[in-house]
Amino acid sequence: MRPLDENETTQVFEKLYKFVGNNLKNIVESPAHEGPDSSAGRYCFRLQKNKVYYVSESLVKRATNIGRDNLVSLGTCIGKFTKGGKFHLTVQALPLLASNAKHKIWLKPTSEMSFLYGNHVLKGGVEKVTENIVANDGVVVFSMSDVPLGFGIAAHSTQESRKLDPNANVVLHQSDIGEYLRMEDEL
């Protein structure tokens, strides 16, 4: 387990910024109450076996005596680096993203299952959308009961999407909670 180096940190922050915008500050600097210390430490990112974990400092301290081969996970995994060095967010980051998301989209109940199978979001399935989405923004997908379902990339801006026909993609799927069942092994 090691801290992220410059490159890696930039990549992670960039990806996160797409989804949470300026709330990134929140994520990085929020006081961390986990761990048995009474004073709140901070959160930090750590890299272990190409996966990036978002953990509180006290947790990190306690995990240091676990060997590299034996440590499997700590805190919350938010994504991983591919062989090509690119960083992808995984579904486990969802709670973190959802609470800080800038752009949200709510799905109709009928199209929930389709998204959870990994399909993109069609315009006909959208119940409501936050304003001012620009193309290629990160969007967090919610159900009508405000349960976060996953996240993706906006295909068009909000203005444009209004003019599209109901079968066009508005959000390109990146990750959803159905993966816990479909792709348990790859997480």
Partner: protein
């Protein structure tokens, strides 16, 4: 009306059969009868009474007939005499019936034991060659059980109890698919009637249980959403981590553990994570910013199971966990001895309690396997005890649980731990459940083992389970039994039998309080508290009177 009916039935038992007859004539006459005996007010109402009493005694055809006979005969005026005659007649009729019924019953009872005999050797051979005759087997099983449960009265002369039992074992194994070993063990552990209940209960699956994830939702809200959803394993709520499918028995050890906030907890065999996530939920409680949830170390030795463990932890939104892959026995070296507050050890076992989930257990277990499991469990429990810090302010507890019913894996392991380390059994906090065995055949266990709890499918409708909660009294590992004498002479605890025995009884200190600091010994112990990690300080500081 109801009151009047009651009055009818109480005061005039005799009249009821008459009331119940269907002929309209007798009804009128009955009305008259009633009129004269009861108040006039009730005249009009008794019409209403009659149809009901008809229903009330509909089954009683004989009496109805009788009643109608007598009803026809009776005239309105000479009631008393008629009544007497009628009542006598009815009583006689009833008696006659009873006698006949009894006679029949006796006849039936007498017939059966005479009929049943254990099959002879020849018959058994023949049976062995034919494909198993299930109904016949079942009948024979039932018979033997009945005889064994009332052996003195019902046994067939010349056949010993052992013969019956042996035949029962053979029949049970072929009817239900058990191997000889397992059936033998079960027969020894339970009285025959209970054994049948247990085996029947194993044939059926236990009800599925859902645990709400309090980190993400509340029970009522979840219940509302889920009540209409089928199937229950793949709903969006499941994927969002609002609940966890687990068996009821798996929830028990965590309840016994009772983790507090800000504690360090180790789950030594954590996969697939049902208990670990419950621990996290209990520690977090309301997931607000103010509460500090502590740390959970989730350890699992087998790689494939680790994946489901991590997936579950993330799905349920557990953020304060560290997952590692170690053999549980190595954990004291890795985490350091005396470093955590509580440990949950849900030990790998033979699985004899969950036969309803996995039928292959019936035929695949043998003595060697049980003892191998027991061996591993003993080592694991010692490691678990070593990892816990006895001087922890809020903790110092170890919960040991298995999903097995075998004595060598449960009581024997706890007994071993009591002898090898300075720990004490405390009540689990689970008020239902049967206490563990203190003695079993030739084994004698420590009496405090009655604080452990056993759960059975036929009694509690959950998988067979065993839970024990230990409190670590001190951080020393006694080589001899000298630590038994550390107590000041005055502070002998109430359990006199626990003191100064040489049979490896380590339950010296009555440290029932969570504080972990005994008031009387407080002055002596607190310096060593601050030097946590130096285990050997303890005996060095105090003079251990080797009495």
């Amino acid at each position: 009306m109801a009151a009047k009916r009651k009055k009818n039935s109480r005061t005039k038992k005799v009249e009821l059969p008459e009331d119940s007859d269907n002929s309209s004539d007798s009804k009128l006459q009955n009305d008259n009868l009633i009129e004269q005996e009861i108040d006039d007010e009730e005249m009009s109402d008794s019409d209403g009474d009659n149809p009901f009493t008809d229903d009330f005694l509909q089954g009683d055809e004989d009496e109805e007939e009788k009643g109608s006979d007598s009803g026809d005969e009776s005239d309105s005026d000479s009631d008393d005499e008629d009544l007497e005659v009628k009542s006598r007649a009815i009583d006689e009729e009833r008696e006659r019936e009873e006698e006949e019924a009894n006679a029949e019953l006796q006849l039936n009872i007498k017939e059966e034991p005479d009929e049943f005999q254990l099959p002879t050797q020849k018959e058994l051979e023949e049976e062995g060659q034919r494909p198993p005759d299930l109904p016949n087997l079942q009948k024979r099983i039932k018979e033997i059980v009945r005889i064994l449960s009332n052996f003195k009265d019902l046994k067939h002369d010349g056949t010993k109890r052992k013969d019956y039992v042996d035949q029962l074992k053979i029949d049970l194994s072929s009817y239900y698919g058990y191997n000889e070993f397992l059936i033998g063990v079960l027969v020894e552990m339970f009285p025959v009637v209970e054994l049948m209940e247990l085996i029947e209960a194993f044939e059926k699956p236990r009800p599925i249980c859902l645990r709400t994830n309090t980190l993400k939702t509340r029970r009522r809200a979840l219940a509302d959403v889920l009540i209409n959803r089928v199937p229950i394993g793949a709903t969006p709520e499941y994927m969002a981590g609002h609940y966890m499918l687990q068996s009821a028995s798996s929830i028990l050890p965590v309840m016994a553990l009772a983790p507090q906030e800000k504690e360090k907890i180790v789950d030594m065999a954590a996969a697939p994570g049902g208990k670990t996530t419950y621990i996290a939920a209990l520690m977090n409680n309301a997931a607000t910013e103010q509460l500090s949830p502590g740390i959970i170390y989730a350890n699992e030795m087998k790689e494939p199971r680790l994946k489901s463990l991590t997936a579950n932890l993330h799905r349920m939104g557990v953020t304060n966990s560290i997952v590692c892959k170690y053999d549980g026995r190595e954990l004291p070296k890795v985490l350091g001895v005396n470093s955590v507050d509580r440990v949950l050890l849900d030990a790998p076992c033979s699985g004899t309690g969950v036969i309803s989930k996995d039928e292959s257990v019936k035929a695949s277990k043998s003595t060697e396997e049980i003892f191998k499991c027991a061996d591993l469990q003993k080592q694991l429990i010692l490691a678990a005890i070593d990892v816990v810090d006895a001087t922890s302010k809020t903790g110092g507890y170890i919960v040991y649980s298995t999903c097995s019913m075998m004595i060598p894996e449960n009581e024997a392991v706890i007994d071993y731990a009591l002898r090898k380390r300075d720990v004490k059994l405390v009540p689990c906090g689970l008020d239902f459940g049967q206490p563990g065995f203190i003695r079993y055949r030739e084994h004698r266990f420590h009496p405090s083992l009655e604080k452990t709890r056993r759960f059975y499918p036929h009694v509690h409708n959950m998988d067979g389970f065993f839970v024990a909660k230990l409190k670590k009294m001190s951080n020393t590992k006694p080589k001899k039994d000298t630590d038994a004498k550390i107590q000041k002479p005055n502070s002998i605890n109430k359990a006199g039998e626990e003191s100064q025995q040489d049979d490896g009884d380590q339950n010296k200190k009555e440290n029932g309080k969570k504080g972990g600091v005994v008031p009387e010994n407080g002055k002596k112990r607190s310096p060593s508290n601050h030097n946590s990690g130096k285990k050997r300080k303890f005996p060095a500081k105090k003079e251990i009177p080797k009495a």
